[in-house]
Structures are given as structure tokens and as C-alpha cells.
């Protein structure tokens, strides 16, 4: 284990032997990287079939004849852009599902503005998400949909399923934690946060503050990214994905104030969801009542949603037909990493087909 002095001495050596030019090159390239990222993300053609304030519901155009009729609704996190699931044409979970003949919808929460400050987590789940499901039911003529929630969206999809089980044919929880008292760094930070003071002062939690918080988890990681960028700057395929990822990670959306208050207090601080004591609009949310066929996917190197905190969802639900996959990747890599192509997407597509045909 290195001490502070040793780490500083070795950093000074690295800086002197080339990291300085690597870092300066990386900083000077930021605008180019982000501009290229903007041309690459969210390219899969889709129609906007519903809007509500900033929210948009996208319906992707099919690319093959339909294999099943039950539509899949992708539910992303409230605080990051949806296009992580449609990052670039070559790294797109959405495209992979379309190629298997699934009918895919995407919920784009949009960027919260000061008028969203009073929107509660309850309203996001029982109002906005519910109306999107209803639009899909109406448009597709199907009684129920499959939900695919990622990160915080996984938790929201799970809660939705307990409240409206009749709407949900199958449920996939992709890296959505349901136990919040774990050893993850966010759990340590959130449990000590004076959330009332923060929300009362700021209203929505600003995107810049979230951005800094995400970076503070492992600030030195950006140095490795800078070196990767330097070494592979002529590798077009690498640069495309790198640019899109940089855009996504540097561009979170503000967290609506009241939703943040409940998210931190009830989930991170009091850990109510895993104890069956969480309530939405006064209704108890009991994960033990989920009987829908469910797939839980966790990632062993996930620092944001530790895999055990995601996997516990598999243990808590009552579904007779349930599967758990634990991947060897991280929180973001599991969705868009090179391994996602080979491992996650095909398994996900097959699982949907097997459970909705």
C-alpha cells in the first residue's frame, strides 16, 4: 500500500516523462471530442409518439419483421441521458434488440428545469411512466409491455411492476440497486448528506454538481482515459465510441429536487425498498409481490450500483421464472463495452424472445 509521499513522487515522474503532454493534448481536444460525440449518439431512427413537458417517448423503427408483439419499454435513469442505450450505431443496445425483431420504445426523461423542482418520485413513476405505458398499450394494441430499466430506471421499473403488475409482461433490471446500505461510495456519501438543506437551497440538483460528484468517485481515472486517447487517436473505431462516451459522461441532467429528496432519504438513508417499507403515493411497494418473469443483471466491477445490491432484487421477488446474470464488467461497460456485444445483448434478446413469444 503506497503512502501519500510515494504517490506524489511517482506522479511527478510520470508527469515529467510524458503525461504532461498527454494531459494537455487531451484538454485541448475536449471540444473536438464532444463535437464528434454529438454527431454519433442516438442515431437509431425513431418517431416521437408522446411528449409531456420535457419527456419524450420514442418508438424505434423496426429493422426486421417482428418476432414478438409485446413491446419493450427502456427506462433510463432520471439523471443521465437515455442514449447510453443507443450510444453509437455500432454500440447500441436498442439496435441489437431491434435486430432480433423486438418492438422497442425508449423513455427520454428530458432535462429537468426549475419548473420540475416539485415533481416527486411518485409522480415520475405513477404519472409520467404510467402514461407512457398507456400510450404504448394503446399504440401497440397489447395489454402489457416488457420493461427494461437501467440503473435508477431499473429501480423505477421494479417499483412500477409492484404497483401495476397487470401492465408488465416481463421485467429486466439492469444494474438497478434495491439495497442501498452497501459498501459503495455513493451509499457512504448519501447517508451523511443533509438532503433537506441541499434541496431547499438549490431546488433541482444542478447537472454540474452531479457531474463533479460522479468524477469524484475516481478522479484519477480520467488520466488513464487521456492516455488511451493519446495512444489510440488514429484508431477511428475507438475514437467514435470514446467521443460518444465522453459526451454522455460529461452531460448529466439536473435531478428534480423533490424526487432527489425522496430518493436519498427513503432509499439511501433509510433503505426502505429492500425492507418492504417504501411507499409511493401512500401505497406500500413490496418487491415480494413481483411475480412477473424477471431477469436481473448485475456487474461485478460496478462501483455505482454494487452487484450485491442489484442481485438482491433477484432474491426478494416472488417470480417463479427468474434469472440472474452477473457480468465481469463495470456499470457503464456492461451496457456499451465491447463485451456487451458478445455477452449481454444476445442474452437479453434471447431472454425477451423466450419470455414473450
Amino acid at each position: 500500500m503506497s503512502d501519500e509521499g510515494d504517490l506524489i513522487r511517482r506522479w511527478v515522474e510520470l508527469w515529467g516523462s510524458g503525461m504532461r503532454q498527454v494531459w494537455e493534448h487531451y484538454l485541448a481536444s475536449q471540444e473536438t471530442i464532444l463535437a464528434q460525440g454529438r454527431t454519433l449518439v442516438a442515431q437509431t431512427p425513431a418517431a416521437v409518439v408522446h411528449t409531456e413537458g420535457r419527456l419524450r417517448l420514442l418508438h424505434y423503427h423496426p429493422v426486421t419483421p417482428p418476432a414478438v408483439r409485446v413491446p419493450v419499454l427502456c427506462v433510463p435513469s432520471l439523471i443521465n441521458h437515455y442514449y447510453i442505450m443507443d450510444l453509437t450505431p455500432e454500440r447500441s443496445l436498442v439496435r441489437s434488440l431491434l435486430e432480433r425483431g423486438l418492438d422497442v420504445y425508449m423513455l427520454d426523461w428530458g432535462k429537468a428545469t426549475p419548473t420540475d423542482h416539485h415533481r416527486t418520485l411518485d409522480e415520475y413513476i405513477t404519472g409520467l411512466l404510467r402514461r407512457c405505458v398507456q400510450v404504448i398499450q394503446h399504440e401497440s394494441g397489447q395489454r402489457d409491455v416488457s420493461l427494461l430499466g437501467y440503473c435508477m430506471g431499473g429501480m423505477m421499473a421494479a417499483v412500477y411492476t409492484t404497483l401495476y403488475p397487470q401492465d408488465v409482461r416481463t421485467l429486466v433490471n439492469l444494474a438497478g440497486p434495491v439495497n442501498y446500505h452497501d459498501d459503495g461510495i455513493y451509499s457512504h456519501w448519501a447517508r451523511r448528506l443533509d438532503v433537506d438543506r441541499l434541496v431547499d437551497t438549490l431546488g433541482n440538483i444542478p447537472a454540474d454538481l452531479l457531474n463533479v460528484t460522479f468524477r469524484l468517485v475516481r478522479p484519477t481515472n480520467e488520466l488513464v482515459q487521456a492516455l488511451n486517447y493519446w495512444e489510440r487517436q488514429h484508431d477511428e473505431s475507438f475514437i467514435r465510441v470514446f467521443s460518444a462516451m465522453q459526451l454522455w459522461t460529461s452531460d448529466p441532467t439536473p435531478f428534480p429536487g423533490e424526487a432527489f429528496r425522496k430518493y436519498i432519504k427513503d432509499l439511501y438513508q433509510d433503505n426502505l425498498l429492500s425492507q418492504g417499507r417504501f411507499r409511493i403515493n401512500g401505497q406500500p411497494v413490496d418487491l415480494g409481490r413481483v411475480t412477473t418473469p424477471a431477469l436481473t443483471i448485475a456487474a461485478r466491477k460496478d462501483h455505482i450500483a454494487p452487484w450485491q445490491s442489484v442481485a438482491v432484487f433477484h432474491d426478494l421477488i416472488a417470480s417463479a421464472d427468474k434469472d440472474l446474470i452477473v457480468l465481469e464488467s463495470g456499470h457503464i461497460g456492461m451496457v456499451i463495452g465491447a463485451g456487451a456485444h458478445a455477452e449481454l445483448w444476445p442474452r437479453l434478446g434471447v431472454w425477451f424472445l423466450d419470455h414473450t413469444s
Binding site: M1, S2, E4, L7, R10, W11, L14, S17, G18, M19, Q21, V22, R38, T39, G53, R54, K111, T113, P114, T115, I185, H188, W189, R192, L193, D194, R197, L198, D200, T201, L202, L216, R218, P219, T220, N221, L223, V224, L227, W230, E231, Q233
Partner: protein, 97 residues
Amino acid sequence: MTESLPPSMHQDLEAWEREAAAYWDRLTRSPEVLDRVGQQIARTLESQQRIVASLQKMAWGPAPLPARELTLLERLSQQIESLADRIDRLETRLHNE
């Protein structure tokens, strides 16, 4: 361009980063550090609340807007975003052509 870096740079940086990240992780979990940061954040937020309250009292600050103005601002902001989206799409098309 990569020739000017020592061949072991990648390996050395990764090894250093792993150790620095572990050090940082220990530091940012420590109750003492978290308490100090928490107190600092509380003071900052308190100051901000006081500044906003004082400015509002002197009629200089951003007084809370009535609902109608907020709705109009929201609508305007949506229109601007929609225009920005269209410009983005046009730029993408130009870039691709």
C-alpha cells in the same frame, strides 16, 4: 506521436492510478473527512440562502417568479432547445454529407 512516451508509460500509469484510486477511496470514506466536507457544504448552502434572502429583501435578487411567468419561460426554453436540436441535426447532416 506515441513514440515520444516511454514504452512502460501505460503500465506505470495504470499501476499508479490503481493505488491512487485506492488511497482516494479510503480517504473519501473516512468519517472525519466526510464530516468536514459535510460541514463545509452546510456552511456554503447556509451562506447562499442568506445571500439570496438579503438580495430579495433589497429587491435586487431573483424574486420567486409567479407561476405564469415560469410557464412562459419554460415554453420559451423548450422552443430554444427545439431550435438547438434542429441545428444539431442539420450540422450532423452536413457533417455526414
